[in-house]
Symmetry: C2
Subunit: 314 residues, 2 copies
């Protein structure tokens, strides 16, 4: 094959992947629409604020990862949908609370006003609480389709994984460490930065992938490797985020760049520089891809997704 043809092939493959990714994200949007809280059942304002937060766009990475794992481990049907919606609700509530004046005090996210900036502080707190609670309500509805003890066990196990990774042993723990780090005068250690990454970002990505696999009936022996793969992806994703804060284009990203440096925020990048950080992203992604290739099912989309995540520009 000539270089030109190879190049053409590569481009076609990428276009193909982008189309698939857009399709999957559109499927998640549909799902979210379906599971949106209903204005009939609650005060209009909070439902509006929750829906405003949920429909703010974003990559929908967590539900997509969940569904991919579900399919790779042979899951069929719609049993996964409640959890796909639930994990995006949890991710969303964490952003809504992060943006509050008492936390990061951000007025814009993805080029649009944050929830509290539109609905006020009090409603920002309540909308976040509402989304977290509604996530569990939505996930618990997954029991409706259960018939056998094994069906129930899978959903119960998925709920456990969701609860733990969203909580103080996972995402909330990472958020706490992040807030504390901002108030710390000494420079952060590498261990602290890793703790924040693995918990604030990694935990929910891990939950997404584990839940997809659990609901599909993943054999027990995959648990450790899948956890490792998910954590690699989560940390790589977060370091890439920190790299983009230095090298990215604010127009493409919908938020100002250089904000970490301006806020004196320490990241893997401030500690090791862009180049070494990029190499670490590459190493983690390769490790993740190796594990994905050993898994049952077709891993091609997941491999493309990992490659996309580390080369993304926003």
């Amino acid at each position: 094959m000539s270089y030109e043809m190879q190049d053409e092939n590569h481009k076609n493959k990428e276009v193909n992947f982008q189309e698939k990714l857009a399709e999957k994200a559109a499927h998640v949007e549909e799902l979210l629409q379906k599971y949106l809280p209903d204005e009939q059942c609650a005060p209009k304002t909070i439902v509006e604020a929750m829906n405003y937060s949920l429909l703010a766009g974003g990559k929908r990475l967590r539900p997509i990862l969940m569904q991919e794992m579900y399919q790779m481990f042979g899951g069929e049907g719609h049993g996964i949908e409640n959890f796909m919606a639930a994990i995006e609700m949890i991710h969303t509530y964490s952003l809504v609370h992060d943006d509050l004046p008492a936390m990061d005090n951000d007025e814009y996210r993805r080029g649009r006003k944050t929830t509290w900036a539109v609905y006020g502080d009090a409603m920002g707190i309540l909308a976040g609480d509402g989304l977290l609670n509604y996530a569990f309500e939505t996930a618990v509805q997954a029991f409706t389709g259960c018939r056998t003890v094994e069906d129930y066990q899978r959903v119960a196990s998925a709920l456990r994984v969701l609860g733990f990774n969203a909580g103080i042993g996972g995402m909330i723990g990472g958020q706490t460490a992040d807030i504390e780090a901002e108030q710390q005068s000494d420079p952060l250690t590498e261990a602290q930065i890793l703790y924040i990454h693995t918990h604030k970002t990694g935990a929910l990505i891990k939950a997404a992938m584990m839940i997809g696999a659990i609901l599909a009936g993943m054999p027990r022996e995959w648990k450790t490797e899948l956890g490792q793969c998910a954590m690699d992806i989560g940390i790589a994703f977060q370091i890439q985020d920190d790299i983009l804060d230095v090298t990215g284009d604010s127009g493409e990203m919908g938020k100002p760049v250089g904000s970490d440096a301006a806020n004196g925020k320490q990241t893997y990048v401030t500690l090791h520089g862009v180049e070494e950080a990029g190499a670490e992203v590459e190493r983690l992604s390769n490790e993740a891809i190796e594990i994905l290739r050993r898994m049952p099912g077709d891993s091609s989309f997941m491999e493309d997704l990992v490659n996309y995540l580390i080369h993304r520009r926003y």
Copy 2:
């Protein structure tokens, strides 16, 4: 029997009830200690803030109601404990977030500094999030003891009731309406006040009683009446709270009295006066007691509890 003997009997009965109530509350404290989040698994500060909030005392009314219903409907063993701890965590997180500067801005509750006043705004938000999430984690652990499909169904059903009543269709919905009412210049209608009472206070009390009965295997035909009984108790409890804000003693209550009037807050009492409000509390309590007497099991403690709640002075 002479009047004196009757009076003596009545006193003995009351002492007896107070002892039982204190025992039950002490049992809940023990349970909460057992289910407290562990500092090994999360950043020290958030675990401290959560435990500070959880161990702030209070009547522990919701877990006590849950356990009573469990026993009245023939529930046995410890299967209920996860939910007893979980509902108190949810009640506690709602207070932690209510007290925040962006919400009611309260620095004291039950005579002691509120969570944000000790740990700061950001940690107040995170500790509340942590408690809500940990409540679901704790409740989900109840699946551990399940063997049969019926076991799983009961716990799943209890989770549904917990989620709905804690969420925007319940407590969070009531809290939203309450915040909106404060910003409203027109006087509140009776329907608005009733909405706030039934949702902000009633829903979680209803959830407590329903969950106890569900986990004990309550026959379906009791559902509506039990819901009615619980709602009567919840509304009576809230109106009594509003009465105490006018007639209570700030020393006994551990918080300032007259705060509703000072804040221009409208309640059933501002609408109808103390006397009519007291009569409504009496009517609701009597209705609740009538239902309790028709239920299976020994309702004597529950009857005493309802009487105690409407005659309490703090």
